[in-house]
Amino acid sequence: MGSRSPHVMAATGPPSTPYGAGIGRRRGWWACAHHDEGGPVHRLRQIGHDEEGPVRRLPQIGYFASSPVRRAATPDRDRTMSAARRLNQAAGLLAASVLADSGVEHYRGCFENPAMYLPLASSALSLAASLHGTADARGGGHRLRDAIYALAGLTGVAGTGFHLYNIGKREGGWSWINLFYAAPVGAPMALSLSGLMGFLSERLRRTPSNRPPRLLGFPAGRTLAALTGAGLAGTTGEAGLLHFRGAFQNPAMVLPVTVPPIAAALLEATAAQDAPSPGLRRATGGLLRLTALLGFAGVGFHIYGVSRGMGGWRNWSQNVLNGPPIPAPPGFTGLALAGLAALWLLEGKQ
């Protein structure tokens, strides 16, 4: 397995998929991209045009369904734009999670400080920009989206500052009990991550068509893998802290502190190697997909968790506020999408 290169795969052809038309077109472009790097301009434009069509959108919808290894036949430009739009999806999911979560939690805190409205506004904007970006298959950046994502990033950093202040000022200072019950230390960073993913998306979109994509001065796949890994680690830390507060009373509470860090570690390992084995890439893709699914499953678990409060869902107005945060887990899904985008770019590197 380890010696099987993408070139061999291209030569032998990828296994059949449910998206026959799209995959077939990519096979043609794979050959073009490698035999005539950069490719004719008119053919690249043809890709941009195709991406807006319904046929091109199918693989986006079925992203979880096919292995990244099987997708090794996409041309660089196509791949870059796909990654950029997936980053918009990631940013959107993170923003949606923050919007709902900070809405509930800051309502619980009675919006005591007017600054507590900021993450709602910023995450709503980030969500709108992400929806726009996801639908936008054109190359080049978008200034307003860029500005919104920058705002989200900064709001998250400022929020972290507020939360750190809230923890430190309490009796006991930096103690476990304040980490458990004061403002959640890691939550605002989800908004920063939304901004970051959107920001990176804009950078990818601006990649000249004849160059391999780079982010922050490094190859895009590796940069994105590193940042996504850090994001997953931080989110795992936050989930770990709060699930520890809940004494891991349900065995499923272990999942978000085991699966995502393994996925992140595999992603880093993949990014670190010039020629990662197909097995490693498959495992990375699998774990990232599992992480993405876990984010949605977490919503279900948390809905169940709310039902275990006194009075269950009939007492929803109290239990939603005091039970496990229902909107929080999809943050993992957002980061997993970013990780899959990173994997996508890394494969392009091959």
Binding site: E171, G172, I177, F180, R308
Partner: protein, 563 residues
């Protein structure tokens, strides 16, 4: 009837009065977690000679019933009180909830008569743990050898290291929610659940401790901070001291009793034991008990008395006969003697900010500093104490104003308006054992025709010094936290212990370390009455730990064929 998991609406009126007639009959017992529901219960005939008849189902008896049943013994546990389903029986009403206390007639005397019938007694399946404050603390190790290591009172016949193991077991069973690092005492296993969020009253204690340079911690509590089985996480209602209506509280009623039933024990509610029978071989043969309007007799190979420090000596004394003219297990003459309580004084103050101290478990933060100080220039007493934050409910607070402060009329009304800004600290202090503090039998009789107990209690000078020191410290801490208009509530006691002390010597104790009576080998006492000293912490966890140890000892003895 419903099998709803956590439903609670409408059941208060629908439920049959648990005082009317026993609920645990007909092969079933109340399911404490489901309104109107039942769990199957094994039942024994009075003529069945069960392995153990246990009198009382509180921290000692309920725990022991569970552990013995799980070990395969046949067990009948009797309690004078009703068998509650908290979800349908408990109301957020202080007056209504006095039903969980033992309010039967008692006589009190001595220089400092102990006020009975509220926080220091319980008449329910589950005993006083139904309304306990859930404070789950371990003894300081040295207290097990007070005489030899600290130079006062008595040594216990138990080794603290062995007790540490049983504390672990109890804390696991109760899913105690406590801090990750407890500032006092030897290293302990991590509490099973994380500490609860602190309310404003708890933060007042923290602020005072930080200003005074003493340590503080979130108080280890037997109420869950996350879901556990059918117990929802605590919602900080604050009615803990009159019965938890959500079942977040991990009491004997919600923890050990369901386990006991599942293991085949029979629980008999509304069953008042009035006498233990003996035979010519000077062994006990069973118990006479009153249930459904008649006296009955349950045969048993062993009898365990677990009625707490008043009812246990009362029953032993009531069981006098020509064979045992001074009452059972009383060859030492110590049954009923060395009654101890713990001082429970408070200091209250007014805070600028709103505190609403009644929200949440009453004692969310704790300061055990003075439990671990042996020598200090200001320490002029033997014994130890702690203090924690407090959260009195409205009527309780009213009683403080009318009682401790003697307020009435306009002054009372004005003071009550400050309720939401009040914060207080309450001590639990070790009062020493004295022979003259005792339980005897009065000539008056109760509704069962049984002679009622007379409870005689007087503080020693040492006790008074300890109380004074505690109140001074609490006042300083409260002032350091920013409280003003500080006043003291000087007369209050809580837990009761002693009256059937354990020891190594039959002439100076009633039971041995295994809670087995020196005089009658098949008679056991397993509750707070076996304490030689009370220490400066709430006793419920120690009582349960002793019960767990006793169960293990009985298993080993049975395995060796001892009878």
């Amino acid at each position: 009837m419903s099998d709803s998991r956590t439903g609670y609406e409408g059941y208060v009126t629908a439920a049959a009065d648990p005082f009317d007639r026993p609920r645990a009959i007909g092969g079933r017992a109340p399911d404490v977690f489901r309104p109107g529901a039942w769990v199957p219960m094994r039942q024994y005939a009075d003529t069945d000679e069960v392995d153990f008849a246990i009198v009382g189902t509180g921290a000692g008896g309920g725990t022991l019933a569970c552990r013995l049943a799980e070990q395969g013994f046949s067990v009948v546990a009797l309690d004078a009180g009703p068998f509650w389903r908290p979800l349908e029986d408990f109301a957020s009403d202080e007056t209504e909830q006095t039903k969980v206390f033992w309010m039967d007639d008692r006589l009190i005397d001595g220089d400092n008569p102990i006020k009975m019938g509220v926080n220091n007694s319980g008449k329910s399946v589950g005993g006083s743990t139904v309304h306990f404050q859930m404070v789950s603390l371990r003894f300081r190790p040295e207290w097990f050898s007070s005489r030899s290591q600290l130079g006062y009172a008595e040594d216990w016949p138990l080794d603290w290291r062995e007790m540490w193991h049983y504390y672990d077991e109890v804390e696991d069973a109760l899913a105690v929610a406590g801090p990750l690092h407890y500032p006092w005492g030897p290293k302990r296993k991590r509490y099973p659940y994380r500490p609860h969020e602190l309310n404003a009253a708890a933060l007042v204690l923290a602020r005072g401790a930080e200003a005074m340079g003493t340590a503080w911690a979130a108080c280890p509590l037997a109420t869950v901070s996350a879901p556990r089985g059918l117990s929802p996480p605590c919602v900080h209602r604050g009615f803990c001291r009159i019965g938890c209506s959500t079942n977040a509280k991990q009491s004997v009623l919600t923890v050990w009793i369901p386990r006991a039933l599942a293991a085949g024990a029979e629980i008999r509610d509304l069953a008042m034991v009035g006498r233990i029978e003996t035979n010519d071989a000077r062994r006990v043969t069973g118990v006479h008990y009153h249930r459904e309007g008649q006296w009955r007799f349950q045969k048993a190979r062993n009898v365990v008395v677990a009625g707490y420090a008043i009812e246990t000596p009362r029953l032993l004394l009531l069981s006098e006969s020509s064979r045992f003219p001074d009452g059972l297990a009383n060859s030492s003459g110590l049954v009923g003697k060395y009654l101890m309580t713990q001082c429970n004084q408070s200091v209250w103050g007014l805070m600028d900010e709103e505190i609403r101290c009644y929200k949440g478990p009453p004692s969310l933060s704790i300061n055990e500093h003075w439990n671990y100080v042996d020598r200090h220039p200001t320490k002029d007493f033997d014994g130890y104490y702690l203090f924690y934050s407090q959260g009195p409910l409205p009527l309780e607070w009213l009683a403080v104003q009318t009682g401790a402060r003697g307020l009435w009329g306009e002054a009372l009304r004005t003071e009550m308006e400050k309720y939401n800004h009040q914060a207080g600290l309450r001590m639990v202090g070790e009062l020493l054992p004295y022979e003259n503090n005792r339980v005897t039998l009065a000539d008056e009789t109760d509704q069962y025709g049984l002679r009622i107990p007379r409870i005689t209690y007087t503080y020693s000078e040492n006790d008074k010094r300890l109380i004074r020191h505690g109140m001074d410290q609490m006042e300083q801490h409260l002032r350091a936290a920013g409280a003003t208009d500080i006043f003291r509530q000087e007369d209050d006691t809580n837990h009761l212990n002693g009256t059937a002390r354990m020891g190594d010597n039959p002439t100076t104790s009633v039971v041995n370390a295994d809670c087995r009576c020196w005089d009658i080998p098949n008679l056991w006492i397993c509750d707070g009455s076996v304490f030689p000293t009370v220490g400066g912490v709430n006793p419920s966890e120690t009582i349960q730990a002793i019960a767990c140890r006793t169960a293990d000892r009985i298993r080993r003895m049975a395995a060796r064929g001892e009878s």
